[in-house]
Amino acid sequence: MSMVTFEDIYKIRNVEGVEQYLLVDADGLIKHNHFDSPEKMAQVLFASMKYALSIAKNRFKYIKFARKNNDNLYIFPIGKYCLGVVKQKTINDAAFQDNMIAFLNRLVKMKQS
């Protein structure tokens, strides 16, 4: 079984529609940062993961926070980590979500291969 490395996750920078991203661990500690004001987003990621898992546990897929300028915030669980992403304003949410789901599915396949 192959492992998914941080380098694999950091390929998110190549996903169309990704403006900024941030990876935190289960304790909310920043593991990788390509983000303005990462502490603010880390706090949101940590709290959101806690709340979402309390509602849904393994059924939790992702969260979207809609913003006025359409640079929406997204939160994706990746194993014991949590990925926060700012969407580019110019891409619509459906296309961005498809891109992200495809990227995350590739990570899952890598883990299973």
Binding site: A47, S54, I63, A66
Partner: protein, 159 residues
């Protein structure tokens, strides 16, 4: 529109012309009293009609239901299937509103949160500083339609 005379209580049918700037302005057909009073509008963009919006939103296909949650008063109105117990809805409303508040405290321009689960999705829209409306959808398609509705009438939800 049917309105009631402030003086004698008689029902009166008024036209759009007699409904001015949110006020009913008419002479009662029974007692001739000149009425001129503020009505709570039923226009969908009116802030006081969140319940009306809730009814309209849950009629969107694949929308399972929804409820209005107040941070201090709890559930003000719900229209959820019977399988959702009220005590569970209170817990759900509390968790979702707290999650949105954490984000709002860091990003003040956030107006809505959508939680995507395996088979259910929840849209949480800020109505007032201490109130949210929560919609439960069975498909991503219905989430999009619910979000479109909320965007269309956003002046009613973001105050």
């Amino acid at each position: 529109m049917i309105v009631f005379c402030e003086d004698c209580g008689e029902k009166n049918l008024i036209t759009q012309d007699q409904f001015k700037a949110g006020r009913a302005v008419f002479k009662c057909t029974a007692c001739n009293y000149n009425n001129n009073y503020l009505l709570s509008s039923t226009h969908p963009s009116d802030n006081g009609n969140i319940i009306d919006h809730l009814k309209k939103i849950i009629s969107i296909p694949d929308t399972l239901g929804g409820f209005v949650y107040h941070l201090e008063k709890g559930i003000l109105k719900h229209n959820m299937p019977a399988s959702f117990k009220k005590e569970n809805l209170i817990g759900l409303g509390h968790i979702l509103s707290q999650n949105l508040l954490v984000c709002l405290s860091n990003y003040s321009d956030v107006g809505r949160m959508t939680l995507y689960l395996a088979k259910r999705h929840m849209v949480v829209q800020v109505v007032e500083t201490d109130m949210v409306i929560i919609l439960v959808c069975a498909s991503k398609k219905s989430v999009t339609k619910v979000e479109d509705y909320l965007d269309k009438f956003k002046e009613a939800f973001i105050t």
